[in-house]
Symmetry: C2
Subunit: 244 residues, 2 copies
Amino acid sequence: MHRYLIKIAFDGTDYHGWQVQPNGITVQEQLQNSMKALYGFSPDVTGCSRTDAGVHAECFFCHFDLEGLIPNEGVIKGLNSVLPDDIRVLECKEVDADFHSRYCAKKKTYLYRIDRRNISDPFSCRFSYRYDGKLNVGDMNYFCSTLCGEHDFEGFSSANRSVQDTVRTVYDCHISENGNYLELFITGNGFLYNMVRIVTGTALEVGKGKIDKNIAEKIFITKDRSIAGATAPAKGLFLKLVEY
Amino acid sequence: MHRYLIKIAFDGTDYHGWQVQPNGITVQEQLQNSMKALYGFSPDVTGCSRTDAGVHAECFFCHFDLEGLIPNEGVIKGLNSVLPDDIRVLECKEVDADFHSRYCAKKKTYLYRIDRRNISDPFSCRFSYRYDGKLNVGDMNYFCSTLCGEHDFEGFSSANRSVQDTVRTVYDCHISENGNYLELFITGNGFLYNMVRIVTGTALEVGKGKIDKNIAEKIFITKDRSIAGATAPAKGLFLKLVEY
């Protein structure tokens, strides 16, 4: 048995997230269907993260086991020949049988893109959330900096999360201005359900002056989701980097 | 009565071209439906060109008449509030009653994007045609240069065109390398049905060494569509600029 780790990228617009589910097509399902078409059976494909519906990935890892030893280039070409264009296999390598794309991940980096134009661009509107009102980027960056370190992020997650332990370490969180976009980057050892989108929604409210830039400490202590900002739309979010 | 000229941009992926037709939704139809929602009736919206299904526009002009005098900014905001995200109104101005977005256009520039990567990018695959084989760009550029001037382009058009006069003037045609892309630009006083896609398909065959770089003269004389290259896929084509 050989274990393969592949790096994929996908436009999540038309998918109900990563994980197979009854009410819509998912990225995992597309991969498993492609393997069925290519190899005659569907191995279980395990992903590095459970991305929400509509979220994109420039870098997403998943692993699966095959009986045969297939050249890496053959896995890439074969899967890309049957997958839809909005999912691409970028890299493939054989890994040890105990390697796990999710549990072995040490750091993940997400990017949230906010389009600052007053009219959105039809060629990039799938990949950003447009907000052209006034924003205090200095205050947003201050708020981001207060997230760094080990904290209980329960107040920054949605109620229907599946995990018990809500303590995570954020290594970096900052906002950069990049042409027409504000880009929020956040790197951590793991993220709770909807956490990056709630962090972004809170940063936006801080930028508008509607939430105090020191709110993070209060949310860590009270674990009160209701004092954080709204969950920002999925379309602006990218899984950007996964480090092992 | 007031005549308005608007500049729009659209991602043509999900549309059956510009012009209203029975078998699928079109950009013209979306605009007319939006005006119906906004103003209570649908004025005729006349476009500068009949783009094919799947073709995009960074710059497309159309005109329509309304009884009321509406501020330009109000037309832009109103239409963008009801149009889908893949069509955006960028500019609006009132023009003379005899101005016609199609007949008054003096020059149009199209861009065809060829992605040279061996794996396409899921975030831009809607907007380019991927070809990663070897291409002689010098020969392609030579072929492009031979299109310039006034010629009978009948052999570079599809049989089901609606016009009689097939003579057009090409002011410029060249290919630039731009990062991962080869970009074919063509500027002319008008274009026949599928002309830019057939020019691009022929340029690709010239680049592969399968069609002689001096083929254009022969096609102008014989008007023989069959000796030109295949019609390149719609997804790589953009209407880039319209000049009045």
